[in-house]
Point group: C3
Chain length 157, copies 3
């Protein structure tokens, strides 16, 4: 370490609604808490699905638009392919002891991580506080987000 | 707020060319200016479309590769679906008083936000200074970008 | 520059496995080294392809899910379209003197940039140290990553 000042806080923004779009942010938040780093997660745009009660159990993998998956687009577009890739990724996560999204959100929350929804996105999708899981601490404006993030690293995923 | 030092500056990179890829960065830049935080926006790769005169009015939503939209891939791929989703998102933004891309760029500029194009991307797409809207202050190298970003938060969207 | 403190270090996370998902992070790492800024690159999720020996030569452009490419989805999904767009982007990069991925990784490494793989992703894809190119300095946990990133900017691409 070339610097004697440690990271004190991370503010992670989750903006995508696919499994591979949500996991990196949660893994980084969890890793921060395990190091004793303050961690807050802000869910915005489609990322809100990860904390929305009737959606957080149904998050899928995107099988098109990602050539790294090695699935030709026409095959990836076939009905059922996303479900298949989703089952595979869930199994891989389980082998790594990384829990499904709802349990992961709960785990990070219980480890002291703050979970917040972005106000503009909440209004855009016409959601309410009660649509979110219990771990969500509040709905914040961008301004509130900058206040909470001061003195740390902002990571947009 | 656990820290008495506020955020002084944000440097936001917009690298995607879809509506849902461009709005988060602009919303964060606007929110920063409303808090009195210095905000600079750097448009790179496909994000350049947001400041390119003959493209900034025609930005669309991506209807495939995003399972959170709830549109099956084969349906999302049908001609017209992207236009439909684009119309819907534009209406949602309007309800939130978030302006269309060109007006939003102008608004952030008028509020003191700096708008910059990334040199490597400008050369890659063979664009010129005059292809960009008037709000663009300059074309910067990555090195210039790091200079301008010093002392703040870098947010890659 | 409104601040007399320069950026000392950047920690860039590359999480996507398409050409247009990998290049921005490498370009930012290279630009940092050219300014004398310490640069470390962490490859995670599909971004691991960029340092995996039998994949780093075969990275492709995503031709669907990106309306900015101007390719209708059904055309983008046609066999061969991704290969065509990949050839075009490679040519554009070559004109800008930006090398292909493997040479670019080597160049940044030789300029002093640190290349690291993310442990959770390495396990998820069941990879081993010897699957990576020689420039990879190590496999890190998220905790290690935060240690290495202290005192700099974290940029998630």
């Amino acid at each position: 370490m070339s610097d004697n000042e440690k990271i004190k806080k991370v503010s992670i923004i989750i903006s995508k609604g696919s499994l591979e779009g949500i996991y990196p942010g949660l893994i980084m938040a969890n890793g921060a808490r395990m190091k004793g780093i303050e961690a807050n997660v802000f869910f915005t745009f489609f990322g809100l699905d990860a904390i929305t009660k009737n959606k957080m159990n149904k998050i899928k993998v995107a099988t098109v638009g990602n050539p790294a998956m090695g699935i030709p687009t026409l095959v990836g577009a076939a009905p059922g392919m996303s479900a298949l890739a989703t089952t595979m990724m869930k199994k891989q996560m389980e082998e790594l002891d990384i829990p499904p999204i709802p349990e992961f959100v709960e785990m990070i929350h219980d480890a002291g991580g703050g979970m917040y929804a972005c106000l503009a996105s909440v209004e855009m999708f016409k959601l309410k506080k009660e649509d979110f899981c219990d771990q969500v601490k509040g709905i914040l404006t961008i301004g509130d987000f900058y206040d909470i993030s001061a003195g740390g690293e902002i990571i947009f995923t």
